[in-house]
């Protein structure tokens, strides 16, 4: 699933250097980017609908599996879900609903998909957001150290470690952390049933639950920030402006901090935004291991159905996040790097 998602997700992520020509004004640039994003979203909606229709299976039969149900009731259920209508009609209903913020009704839970996605979105943003912030901080810090002292033992150890952790399967790492946690951290969900109500106690409770899934994601994700930062810094190291800075007599760590790092940061910023969209879908397995009530888990449950309306809802939301993040990255890049504006 993740594979199918990411290969689709990348389509709108491509940055066409040709589009940066002209520089006929910020408004035009922003509008064209927004237009592109909207077109990507429309494509996602169409793909999402027909892609999931190719999944075999009768949702009604799945729902009533193992229970005595007469055919009349099954027909009634099919009519309620609207799966007895022709495919194009279903698509039309779906798009019409979507334009009004209606993502349909879950086959399994009979609740509006919009509500289901909404209540799962925040836990995922909390988990992925905190893991990303920490991964970026850790990755950049280690990347700068390693890159500045390229070839040193620190560099070798850190690069090797990062490459190893990057290739570790997330669910396995999660399970290992669960076992290693030895009961110090809760193994499921984001709330304990025994917490006294109160902003502070409930917040701490969530924080406590956050530790293991967040560390799992962090460990896997800091690597790419570290490696990109490292190579980007190495790319800057022989630049003339660094020689100039050194010639001014600046101390080595100041040359690094004031001159090299800010320039090397540019590619990383783009990566952070592009990754953020990907990480949401990448959280599927971690959310499943820790029963974190987020979007990834919803996707996992819906796939077992298959609960088509929910699958579509999550798909559109995730793809929307990727498109939005790419848009932000492109706009931000323009702000950060004057060369993009004037080129």
């Amino acid at each position: 699933m993740t594979e199918a998602l990411s290969s689709l997700d990348q389509t709108p992520a491509l940055v066409d250097p040709g589009e940066r020509r002209g520089g006929t004004g910020t408004a035009r640039f922003v509008l064209s980017k927004i237009g592109g994003a909207l077109a990507s979203l429309a494509l996602v909606v169409v793909l999402g609908f027909f892609l999931f229709r190719t999944l075999p299976g009768d949702p009604v039969r799945f729902m009533v599996r193992d229970r005595p149900t007469d055919p009349k009731m099954m027909a009634e259920l099919r009519a309620q879900m609207g799966v007895d209508k022709p495919l194009l009609r279903q698509f039309w209903d779906y798009v019409a609903g979507l334009l009004q913020g209606d993502m349909g009704v879950s086959y399994l839970q009979r609740r509006p998909v919009f509500d289901m996605v909404g209540e799962r979105l925040w836990p995922t943003i909390l988990l992925v957001g905190s893991a990303t912030v920490l991964a970026v901080l850790l990755g950049l810090w280690l990347g700068v150290r390693a890159g500045w002292r390229r070839g040193s033992r620190f560099d070798k150890v850190q690069t090797g470690l990062a490459l190893t952790l990057w290739s570790v399967p997330q669910f396995w790492l999660g399970l290992m952390l669960l076992v290693a946690g030895n009961g110090l951290f809760p193994s499921r969900g984001m709330h304990s049933p025994d917490v006294e109500p109160g902003f502070f106690s409930e917040g701490l409770d969530v924080l406590h639950h956050l530790v293991l899934p967040c560390v799992t994601l962090l460990v896997v994700f800091y690597a790419q920030y570290m490696l990109v930062m490292r190579s980007s810094l190495i790319g800057e190291m022989n630049s003339d402006y660094l020689t100039t800075a050194r010639a001014k007599g600046l101390r080595d760590d100041l040359v690094r901090k004031r001159h090299a790092v800010p320039n090397a940061l540019l590619p990383t910023v783009t990566l952070v935004f592009m990754q953020f969209g990907m990480v949401v879908s990448g959280a599927v397995s971690v959310e499943a291991v820790f029963s974190w009530p987020g979007l990834g888990q919803l996707l996992y449950e819906a796939l077992r159905g298959p609960d088509l309306p929910v699958l579509q809802g999550v798909f559109v939301t995730l793809a929307g996040a990727v498109v939005l993040m790419n848009l932000l990255a492109e706009l931000l890049y323009r702000v950060l790097d004057p060369r993009v504006r004037t080129a």
Binding site: G57, P71, R110, R120, L138, N182, S291
Partner: protein, 594 residues
């Protein structure tokens, strides 16, 4: 850097015992590995949700803990008319809803009537009332249910009885408010709902006024797990007290653990190998592309003779099952069929070979038998690709059939593909299985003529597409037979007829594998007794009968966790804030220095 600091600080923080959380009463925490869709008993369909309904609402009658025979619930006693069409239930007096209002005959009458009137109210349990003619409550003590045709499941209607005064004002049963405590918090069962955090947990408190007496634990929690391994780990760490649906591997791994007791119980599922005997739809038109050789009952008999159910149980199920006989699992002792010596199909490769030899299927040069017309005895064997049971069973069955000169082509496919194939009759042999209910009617109905698909290939609920006048006759008779002993005899005869035609081979009845913390709980009420299951019963006996172990140590250990995480939270906070300040300062000093 901040992250590293936070992680290492967290890892090294010492145990901080909490004085705050002291004796808070006995809590039973159950690991749920299936989801909850609704609390609303009219729309709740997933297994865990129907369980919530069982805990919260008393049923009219329910299967007993001892032997799953009907026993009183909201109804104290019941009788049926001579034509078996009118059922009169006498309602128990003195029962109360948790808001203090009495439980009267108006409540079950309302519950069933609403299901008849409102399509949405039929979502979960509609099949129980599809044969109802009328519902009435002539007085507060009497409920009268009339059916169109005799219905023997009338004493095991798996329908939660809801309070009329709460539910009557609700017009839309699909409204989100029907999942809220104001509505579902009022009940009459052993446990009352107190809190529901969607996708995370459900909390109940013991019903002090429960008519059978209050449960021994004060609070019940159902905690959702998405990952079975994580749930097993939580049991080991003492985060949950009971867990079920274990795999044989997980079960074996938990066996030696300290403070954990495992429970192996007969299950209500059976696995079978179905044989396409030339299946037809409900209009008796042949369907599918089954191999015509299998129309010969002698070939089917030889296949049955060549399957060793004992080996399936030992080698495929790791011993966690019972060899199958009929379609009613051994858990339902009264109705399960034990074949006589004459009826028994014994595992005997030589006899199977002899059967085929006599039938004139001679072995060819390649060891595969050939039918008189020249067709080879080669069959496709379909099964679930993702089920280890099917994978292993297919291996064994292929081997055995090879021994009697039958070639097998294994076709393990996705669940839905298998469903599609068997529904369309496009199989020769297929591995299938069903879960059954305490009333044998359902298990038997899986092989009636009416259960076959219609002309469009839809609506089939039959497992084998069996259609036999003798079986039909016995099926109808048992449905209208209300003497338990006589009915049981008919049910067994029907299974014997089915087995005698060799349209399926019941392979085994899966065991239920569970485990619980014996340091926290000393016993649970099993169903059936003495060796039944704790969770997922047809009733609420397991959690209702949970008896806490008498150890003070267990409670203290649990409480220390509360303090621990407060400590951890504080450390993380300090590190984050401290780290931020530190970074800020360093930035500033760099500025100054330049």
């Amino acid at each position: 850097m901040v992250a590293v600091l936070a992680a290492s600080a967290v890892a090294t923080v010492p145990f901080v015992p909490a004085a705050a959380a002291q004796q808070q009463g006995k809590v039973l925490r159950v690991a749920l590995t299936t989801g909850i869709d609704h609390l609303n008993p009219f729309t709740a369909q997933l297994a865990a949700s129907t369980q919530v309904g069982r805990f919260t609402y008393e049923f009219l009658t329910l299967p007993s803990a001892e032997d799953t025979q009907p026993t009183g619930g909201v109804a104290e006693s019941w009788k049926t008319s001579d034509d078996k069409l009118t059922w009169t239930f006498t309602i128990r007096q003195g029962m109360k809803w948790s808001d203090g209002k009495p439980v009267t005959a108006q409540d079950p009458a309302y519950t069933f009537q609403r299901m008849l009137d409102d399509e949405n109210a039929r979502t979960a349990n509609g099949s129980y009332v599809s044969n109802f003619a009328s519902v009435s409550a002539p007085d507060d003590k009497t409920l009268v249910l009339k059916t169109k045709a005799p219905q023997s499941s009338m004493t095991s209607l798996d329908v939660p009885i809801v309070p009329k005064h709460i539910w009557e004002p609700i017009k839309d049963l699909n409204a989100p408010s029907t999942d809220e405590m104001a509505v579902v918090g009022v009940g009459s069962g052993p446990y009352l709902l107190t809190e529901y955090k969607k996708n995370e947990f459900v909390k109940f408190k013991a019903n002090k006024d429960y008519w059978r007496g209050a449960p021994k634990v004060d609070e019940l929690q159902l905690l959702q797990f998405k990952d079975a391994e994580a749930a097993v780990n939580a049991l080991k760490q003492g985060e949950v007290d009971v867990i079920n649906r274990l795999t044989p591997t997980q079960f074996d791994a938990l066996k030696g653990e300290k403070n954990i007791t495992t429970n192996k119980a007969p299950g209500r599922r059976y696995n079978e190998l179905i044989i396409n005997f030339g299946v037809k739809n409900v209009l008796d038109q042949p369907i599918g592309d089954g191999n015509p050789i299998l129309k010969d009952v002698r070939v089917r008999k030889a296949i049955a003779q060549a399957i060793d159910t004992e080996t399936i149980v030992q080698k495929v199920m790791n011993g966690y099952g019972q060899p199958g006989t009929g379609v009613v699992p051994a858990i339902y002792k009264a109705y399960t069929w034990t074949p006589s010596e004459a009826e028994k199909t014994k595992f005997d490769i030589a006899a199977a070979n002899a059967t085929l030899d006599q039938a004139g299927y001679a072995k060819g040069a390649d060891g595969i038998r050939v039918a008189p017309g020249g067709a080879k005895l080669e069959f496709r064997l379909a099964g679930h690709a993702n089920r280890p049971f099917d994978q292993r069973t297919a291996q064994f069955v292929s081997g055995w059939l090879k021994d009697i000169g039958i070639g097998v082509k294994q076709e393990l496919v996705s669940d839905d593909e298998l469903d599609d194939r068997t529904t369309a009759g496009n199989y020769d042999l297929a591995i299938s299985g069903y879960g059954t209910s305490p009333d044998p009617d359902y298990a038997l109905s899986l092989n009636t003529c009416a259960g076959r698909p219609n002309a469009e290939g839809n609506g089939g609920s039959s497992s084998t597409y069996f259609c036999d006048p003798r079986y039909e006759d016995l099926y109808k008779k048992q449905l209208t037979e209300f003497d338990p002993a006589k009915r049981a005899e008919l049910v067994k005869q029907a299974q014997a007829v089915l087995a005698g035609e060799y349209v399926d081979v019941v392979l085994d009845y899966d065991n239920v594998l569970e485990a619980y913390r014996s340091d926290k709980f000393s016993s649970f009420t099993k169903q059936p007794q003495p060796d039944g299951a704790i969770l997922e019963q047809s009733g609420y006996w397991g959690v209702y009968g949970a008896t806490p172990a008498d150890t003070a140590a267990a409670g203290a250990e649990e409480n220390s966790n509360t303090g621990l995480w407060i400590g951890i939270g504080a450390v993380v906070l300090v590190v984050l804030v401290g780290g931020g300040v530190l970074l800020g300062r360093r930035g500033k000093s760099a500025d100054d220095r330049e």
